[in-house]
Every structure is written in structure tokens, then in C-alpha cells.
Amino acid sequence: MSAESAPALLSVRDLRTWFFTDQGVAKAVDGVSFDVRAGETLGIVGESGCGKTVTSLSVLGLLPQPPARVMEGSSVRLRGEELIGSGERRMRALRGNEISMIFQEPMSSLNPVYKIGGQIAESLRLHRGMDRKAARAEAVRLLAEVGLSEPERRVDEYPHQLSGGMRQRVMIAMALSCEPSLLIADEPTTALDVTVQAQILELLAELRGKFGMAVLLITHDLGVVAEVCDRVVVMYAGQIVETGTVYDIFGEPAHPYTRGLLDSLPSVEDPGKRLDSIPGTVPNPIDWPTGCRFRARCPLATEGCELPQDLVELGEEGRTARCWRAPSLVATGAAT
Amino acid sequence: MRKVLILGVASLTAGCGGEGGQRTASNDPFCQAVLPAVEAFMAESRARNPTPDDPRYGGTLVIGSIGELADGMNAAISTDYSTTQHQQFVNLMTLIDYDPEGNARPYLAESWDVAPDGTEITFHLRRDVFWHDGEQTDAYDVAFTYETVTDPLTAYPNAAFWDNYVKGPNGVAVVDDFTVVIRLEPHAEFLDPFRSAAILPEHLLGDVPRDQLRVHPYGTQCPVGNGPFVFAEHRPQDRWLFEANPAFPDALGGRPFVDRYVYRIIPEQTTLLTELLTENIDVYISPGPDQAQTIIDNPNLELRSYPFRNYILVGWNSRRPQLADARVRRAITMGTNRAEIVEAILRGYGTVAHTGVPAFHFAHSPEALPRLRYDPERARALLDEAGWRDRDGDGVRESADGTRLSFSIKYNTGNQQRQDIAEIMQSQLAAIGVEAQPQVVEWATLLQQINTPELRDFDGVIIGWVAEFKVDDTDLFHSERIDQPYAWSGTQNPEIDRLLDAISITVDRSEATNLWLEYQRVLIEEQPYTYFYFPDRLDGVNRRVVDVVMDARGEWVNIKDWYLDPSSR
């Protein structure tokens, strides 16, 4: 893949999205930077509460403000155009058109009181200016495209008449209706059974090839990341802790957190082997620890970790880790 | 969907009641048969008697009142005051009526003769009175009405009017089409029933079984009268609409001045007052004394006040040991400042009562009677004398055997003035060592408690009477009636019995006056009731209504002579 040389489609710099609540300020996303290049699949992976979903919603400006606020200095550029502060009208023109999104819960992401055809057509009429008839025909075509049988009939059905997998296909059809250049998929398969997950992942891969769009995949499932992503961003406590290609991350994890995650999974080779868990719990976003935020749970923590950590470049371009010991960890190839 | 809903409502709104206009066709077969005849006769009469060219003719008069004309124009079943007024003066006619001094004068009956022995009255009817459907009003109608109201099957509530009359087939005889004879035992005020009971059309109601009269559509759906106003429409709980009767005899004044007369039912007094003030109604029947000032203050309105026929009293149950002694009852009366109460509660619109003989009555002469004026000192002395003293120092007197001079005063729910009286009495009687506890009871329950002879579950009760022109206390105080509903007080006084008997048969007024005075003296001594006051009747009237006469006879006495100031129409 020639991903490296292509200019960034989406460029996020120092994104900070904070929530101002009664209890205090939750710094859900606290200085996140990454690029999505045209045509690639970038995975953002992390546990719940790490800020991955807030990141994706911030890109589209979909967070309710207040309590959320995208802090000054944050920057989100689409093909060089700054989106933060570009105004609601401009964002509306982009949403569902240039950038579209699918969500975790296919059960609840479709409006239960409208027919699915109408819901797909809505985007087409808004962004493509199609009339009712043309939009409907296009909706039928899109439903066929995402592999729904009998699209002519399905188009007049309500969401509750479809299974979870079918609904996620409808969501995908809706997201693709205006042929976006970027698709943000927020845990698109988490709520689905494995066999259906396999179907959806296959469909996404197929459509991505066909439409040539970039995909920003947000998930907590390391297996899914390993299956479909080109590059990976690992998040922890509102920050990126590691970036790299999917092979780097899984083959040679540089950050102790990434390693811990991988070690928590039951081993395929030795199913009976005792799991290595990460002790403790994710800290509270209102009160992140100072210094390395993973320090309290890190088996390798020593003196020096109480200092704030920056992302450290590790060799190739785009390979970074937020750990001052990462270079030496990678160098020794210490995979515990 | 939403559009349909709103349209549906709109059409409902527009649809109902849209019938408007003329006599509402009730779908009852009786009404279906009768109303076209009325329509035809009225059209014919209008053509025959065109409205005179006089600016006083025309316009719609609106009267507002809190109550429905209960039971409508069927004179044989109703007792309601406003209703009977409409029967007497609006839609129907009585044989005679009273002049302002209370003397009988001809109305439907042109003249009458009384047999020398006082056992027969012969009425000669007018020959120019027609029922509104064109039938002439004749002696058969009178006979029918008399038979109906005296028939027990009818259960006419005022059947007692006819106590001294002969009932059954011998009671009445039709001499010719316009002459009818009524037989009776000689007694005082024997003409009064013919003033109060309106004549009903025999040709329409003659076939109706008497016990079914109450549910007959005649009363509220299509009354056919012979009076100055023709029934046009009745919307229950909303309004009655009457129109001027073009066929009303010229000798009696001809057709009324107003074209239409609307009686509106508005149960809430504040609303009524607002409607009077905003000139949506012309007359507000009987506003409360507290509303009087507002009416006086409005230059367009006039407050009419005049002595009336009702009085308020506190009846004492002399069967109770605390109240058995007349001295105690007199003391209670003297311990109550009735003059102050009249001033305070009625704002001066009323007079203190000493007996139940009202101002319009020929025997009314309070100055000739001893009066129990407010005098707490004498009241205390009287109680002491009767053996009621405060023996334990709690402020309430006891008898020698320890009975406390404590009793309840009951009154019915929803009556502000009675509630006021009870509360003031409680406060004033406490000052003479008498404990009176106001107790409010729902109206029907209260009536049951006091009227049921076996029960008589009360000590004192505040109640009001509307007296007829013929005043008769027999039911209240005669010891023969002790087992009848109205013997509340349980009075058994041979002197009273004797006087009541004498009064009831004394026809001569000057002779009767003496008996009345004697009776009242005994009554004041006995004090079965503490008579409170005769409230004045109040009415709010818009000044655009001219020539209004209102007095003890009622509001509607000369409604046919009212006219609306032409400039206001």
C-alpha cells in the first residue's frame, strides 16, 4: 500500500474535548492527534472510557454542547479545511455527505417510526437534491448493494421488522448513500453475534474497495482490529498511547498498556494458560493521574514515570508510543 | 389525521344547537302534534293583530337567574318560586291576581260570586283568552285543573292549599263554557289558591294519567299556555325563550312590548353579576346583599329592593331538655342581636322578624306587639330564673341536674347567610353562657333529620320559609299536626291551637286581625322559633328596561308591560 505518501484526508491535531459536569471537568479527550489517509482503514482501539467514541463524535461535531466543549487549539481538518468552528451550516453539509458515520447499536440507530427507505432517501434528497421517486429508486439500489435480499420489499419495511445484521446493513447503505470519502464506524459490530459480525466486516471490506473511501474504525475488540485495519491508534485515558501499523502493534507492542491488553486475551496456542490481567481500573476522567496515566497499573513503572509523557517516535514514520521506556522495550523485543 | 380531528371538532361546534329560530321541534310525538298548531295560530294572530306602531314595542329582554325553571310550565307538579312566577305571569294565567295592596282582582276570571254561606265560589271566565294553539280557554280547563291538583295521585306538592275545599267529583261543577263553581268549607283567604295555581289546558292534558303528569313532555318541552308570552324554546340548564303573544286580550293590555323574552340560567353568582355589568343580561334576579353596592355603583344599573315574603328563623326542638322551657328560648332570642345581624349580613336590606307574619299581610303590625329586643342582661336573668346557672365555672350554664345548656344549630350546606347566622349566634350566645355549636348538614339529609316525625334529630335548625299570601301556621304549631313533617318545634299549646283554628275560618279581616295579634302575642311568649328577619328582595335591573314593577308579588308581575328604551336597542 502506498498509504504513506498520500496526503492526509482527515487530520486531527491536539483535539481536546472536555465535559463540564456538576462533578467537575471530565477531560474525555485530552490532546489527540492522528491522520486518516485517503482509502486506508485506521483503527482506534481502547477500553471503555478511553475517549475513542468522543474523538469520533468530535470530528463530526455531534456532541451536545454543553456539557461537551471542544477546547481552544484543537484542530480537525478535512482535506486541509478546518472544521472546528466552521459553523453548523457547513458541518451539516459535510455530515452524511463527505463524512458519514455508523454506530454501535443497529437496533436503536434507526428511527423506529419511519420506513427504512424513507430514512435512506432523506440523505439523498438533502445532499443530492433528488426528488422523492429518484431517491427511493436509489435507496432500493443501495439496499441491494449492501446485500439485503428483496430490496424492493424491504424498502417499505420498518426497522423493527429487520434483524440486527440487516439493520446494520441499512445503516451502512445510508452512510454510503452519498459516497463519502470517510466513513467513521463506531463499534459497528460490537452488538452483533460473531457470525453476523463476520458478515458485516466482510461487507465493509468489500465496499471500501469498491468506493475507495477511508474508514475510521473505532472498537475495543483487538480481534476485529487485527482483521481489518491498516494502521492502529491505541488510546488510554483520553490520550493516544501508541500508534503504528497493524503488524507493528500486534507483532511488537511498544507501550506496556498495549501489551497488557494483548496478554489479557486467552492464548490461542495455549488455551489453558493463566491470563495476565492488568491490575486496577481505568482512572476517573475528572481526575486523571499526573505523569504517565497508566503508571498506577503498569508492571514496569519506575522512577521517572511520574513525569508527563510525550509520544516518542520509534523508528519508522507513524510509529509512536507514549512511554519514555518504549524505545528500549522495542529494542530488546521484550514480549512478556 | 390531525386535520381530520380539528375539522371534526369544528363541525361538531357548528352542528349542535344550530336549529335556532322558532319553536324547537322536540321529537316527542306530543310536541310534534302540538307545535305546528301553535305555529299556525300565532301566524294567524300576528296577521290579525299587527304590532301597534309604537316605539315601545320590540327587542329582546334577558333575565338571568341561578336556577332552572324546575318542572317547567306544568303547574300541577311544581313548587319552585321562579317557575310558579312564570306560570302565573308569563306563560299561563291564574283565575285572579293581586293588586299591589294584596287585594284580589280579575284576571282570567272576569268576575266571581261567593255564596252567602261561603261554601261556593262561582267564577265567570273571560271569553277572549285562547290557548296558544288556538283553542279557547274555558270552564273545562278550570275544572280539569282543580281536579288534577286535588287528586292525591298527582301528588301536587302544594295540595295543602286545597285542604278546606271539597275534593273529588263534587268539588267542582261546570255551569256553562265560561262559568265554573267550586265548593268549599268556609274559611279565611279562600281566594288565595286561585291566585297561585295557574290553569292548565284540559284539551291537551285531560287524557294523561295523573301519576304520569310529572314525566309528561308538556312541562319542559312544549308547554302550551294562554298567557302573554308564548313558549318558543327550552334548552335545559341554559335558557327558556318566550315570544310575545299577539293574541293576548287587548283588555288585559294586549301583546307584551318586548318581542322576545329570554330566561337564562347561570348558576354562579359572580358570573351573573359580570353578565349584568357587561349588559349581556338586563335583569339579575336576587343578587346577594354583598353584591348590591357594585350594582348601585354602576350608572347603567338600578338596584331594586323591596320587602318580600320569606323569612329566616331558627327552629327549636322543644323535645330537648335544654330547650323545653320557653324562658330559655326567649333568653336565647334576647341574647341574639338580630338588628345587628340584619345590618351586617343583609347590609340593611331586611327587617327584624318577631313572628312569621310578613309586611304585606294585613295583620302585620309589629308595633302592636311586645318585642324581644337584644338584651343580654335580661337574657341572663331569665336563664338564672329558669335554673340554668354556670355551676362549674366553665362559662356554660348547667341545670340543677347537671345538664349543660349546650346544643347544636344545624343548617344546610352551601347557604352563606345561614352559615353566617349560626356563626354569629355561636359567638353572641357564648356571652350569656349558652353554648351553641353550628353544624352543617347536606340539605336532603337535614330535611330528613328534621321532618321525619320519628327522628327529629336536631336541637336548633336554621331554615327559611317563603310564605304564600295566605299565611297559615297550622302545620307548624298546631298540636294536631304533631306527627306531621313540619311540626319541628313540637309545640303543644292549647291557646295556640284555639287561635289557629279560629283564624283559619275567620273570613272578615278586621276580626281576623285581632285574632292574629292575639296569636302573635302567645307565639312570642312561647318562642318556638327565634324569628330572625324578613330579608328584602333585591334585583339588579338595567335602566334600559322601563316600567318595571317588582314587589312582594314577585319579579314577573307586570313583565308584559315592560319595554326596552328604544335608544338602547
Partner: protein, 336 residues
């Protein structure tokens, strides 16, 4: 260790649980959801039986029906020689001291109004356990599941998901049972926390000699914790075997598809990986297909009319690898 020569601790035969659906004219149910539709299995003392399947296959209902949290519609449940379905109120209470349940949802399974201490002490009080020092016993239980004594006065909402799941375990253990039904005990938890709880469960099993029925949809996890594994599909067990056998040589086409659909956290060679993607969705349990319930989606090349008409029995080697398929790969003897 596990001694299969003894009679099993729990044996289940022909278990059915049907839920009424809607109401007919006279208030009688016309149709039923056949959530569990004839399930047989046995668990021996000290072992862990894993029960896997996709959502709606009836695995949770099975777990509940076994402990009579739901009254079974039909079938037999024998626990240590007792007929569980015949227990009266008193003996049922006694049974519940021996067999306990751990729930999936760490948020819904704890009474939000009771503090941890109150919750545990109540159980002890009801069963007359812990003597005068119930609070001490409660503290002990907390320590047993890896929580600290000072947690005793806290309320459920003050705990993280993993901690709450520990509380659920502590509550189940408070009556000192010998058998636990674990219903998706870790599926709501993050990966790293999952590993903690799984380790705890394994430690407790070793320490207290517990027997587990482990219900989950995560195949890798089930492989990790189970001695034997049963796979359910549409209210029936389609395959049951030793964990190692089942994962190495799945015999039922559904098991095979399921295993191949699991994304693996290893990107190396992902393009070459062969994956069986099933078509369509799981049919409705109201009206399950005739014959083999899996036949409408079955990719087996030999699928034929028999599959659509004859219900295959659970059969296989006497050694314990049983599958309900007319076309099992190795020539196996038919066991009645």
C-alpha cells in the same frame, strides 16, 4: 479432580422452556417462543461446562431453568440425586444454598439501595449463617473476591464494573454453595478486567472445589475456562465435547462456522485465513425450522432433504464428543 465415573452432580434431560407470546381471545397464549427446546447434558463435580451460542439461542434460559429461576416447561433436572423440579418451598431453599447464580449485568444485578454490607448480611441472616458476627463474615467474603474491607459501607454505584462483578460472586458465595451457574459473567467487562474476573473465578474453583456451568458467547474465553463445552443453536445443543476436542475438531457445521468467524488478534496471514461466512440470520424460535434447525443456513456440501425433515440426534463417540448432525465427518456410531 474430576471423576466422571461417579454419577454427575447435575444432569439435565429433555429440558424445555417455552414462553407464551401474546394473548388469544380468551387470554390463552396461542404461540410460544421455544427458548429451550429439548436440552440434555450433565456436569460432574469439580468441572466447568462451558455453554456457548449466539444471542437468543437459549443458553441463559437453560441456566435459569436449571436453578428453577424459571420454571421449566418440560424435562428433568437432577441435582445430586434430587429431582429439582419436584422440590417444595423448604427444600428449594435448601437447594439454593447449594447452587447459586452469578448474573451478567454488573449494573442490574445489585440492589442499588443496599450497601454492600447490608446486602451480604441480609443473605447471611436469611440463611442463619455467620452467627453473631455477620459483618465479619461479610468482610471475609469481600476479601475472598479481592475487595477491601473498607468497601463494606459503599453502595453498588460506587464500584466499577469489575468490582461489581466481584460483588455478585461474593453474594453467590455467601451461602457457601458447591455449584455456580455463571451467566456471561465477564461479557460486559473490558478486556483487561475480564481477565481479572476470570482469574478470580478459576482461583475460587480451585480453592473451594466449585462446579461451574459457564455460559458465554465468547468462544476463546469458553475454551480457556472450560473442561467441556456445549454449543447451542436455537434452543438445542448441537455439539458437546471436551474443550480441546471441540475446538480442534469441530463436528457440527455450525460449530465450524462459529469458530471460523471469531476474529483473531493476529494480523499475520489474515488475508489467507479461510472463513465460513454464514448467510442470513438465526430463524425465529417461535417457529423453528423442521428437521435440523440449522439446515436453512448450513453450508455443508452434503445438505439434503433429510436435514430439512429429520431432526438429527445428539450422537457421536462414547468418549463424549457428541454432535447433532446427519453428516458428521468421521464415521461415528449411532448411540441411542
Amino acid at each position: 479432580m474430576i471423576d466422571r465415573s461417579l454419577p454427575p452432580l447435575l444432569s439435565v434431560r429433555g429440558l424445555e422452556k417455552h414462553f407464551p407470546l401474546g394473548q388469544g381471545m380468551l387470554g390463552r397464549a396461542v404461540r410460544h417462543v421455544k427458548a429451550v427446546d429439548g436440552v440434555d447434558f450433565a456436569i460432574w463435580r469439580g468441572e466447568t461446562l462451558g455453554l456457548v451460542g449466539e444471542s437468543g439461542c437459549g443458553k441463559s434460559t437453560t441456566g435459569r431453568a436449571v436453578l428453577r429461576l424459571l420454571e421449566p416447561t418440560a424435562g428433568e433436572v437432577h441435582y445430586d440425586g434430587m429431582d429439582v423440579r419436584a422440590l417444595d418451598r423448604e427444600s428449594l431453599r435448601a437447594f439454593r444454598r447449594r447452587a447459586q447464580f452469578v448474573f451478567q449485568d454488573p449494573f442490574g444485578s445489585l440492589n442499588p439501595r443496599l450497601s454492600v454490607g447490608a446486602m451480604l448480611e441480609e443473605v447471611l441472616e436469611v440463611h442463619g449463617l455467620g452467627g453473631a458476627n455477620r459483618r465479619d463474615r461479610a468482610v471475609e467474603l469481600l476479601e475472598l473476591v479481592g475487595l477491601r474491607p473498607e468497601h463494606i459501607d459503599r453502595y453498588p454505584h460506587e464500584f466499577s464494573g469489575g468490582q461489581r462483578q466481584r460483588l455478585g460472586v461474593a453474594r453467590a458465595l455467601s451461602v457457601e454453595p458447591e455449584f455456580l451457574v455463571l451467566d456471561e459473567p465477564v461479557s460486559a467487562l473490558d478486556v483487561s478486567v475480564q481477565a481479572q474476573v476470570v482469574n478470580l473465578l478459576e482461583d475460587l474453583q480451585a480453592e473451594l472445589g466449585l462446579t461451574y456451568l459457564f455460559i458465554a458467547h465468547d468462544l476463546a474465553l469458553v475454551e480457556h475456562v472450560s473442561d467441556r463445552v456445549a454449543v447451542m443453536y436455537l434452543g438445542r445443543i448441537v455439539e458437546i465435547a471436551d474443550a480441546a476436542n471441540l475446538y480442534r475438531e469441530p463436528r457440527h457445521p455450525y460449530t465450524r462456522a462459529l469458530l471460523s468467524a471469531v476474529p483473531r488478534p493476529d494480523p499475520v496471514g489474515r488475508e489467507q485465513r479461510e472463513r465460513i461466512v454464514l448467510q442470513g440470520d438465526v430463524p425465529s424460535a417461535v417457529d423453528p425450522p423442521m428437521g435440523c434447525p440449522f439446515h436453512p443456513r448450513c453450508p455443508h456440501p452434503a445438505k439434503d432433504d433429510v436435514c430439512g425433515s429429520v431432526r438429527p440426534l445428539l450422537e457421536g463417540d462414547p468418549g463424549g464428543h457428541l454432535a447433532a448432525c446427519h453428516y458428521q465427518p468421521s464415521g461415528v456410531e449411532t448411540s441411542t
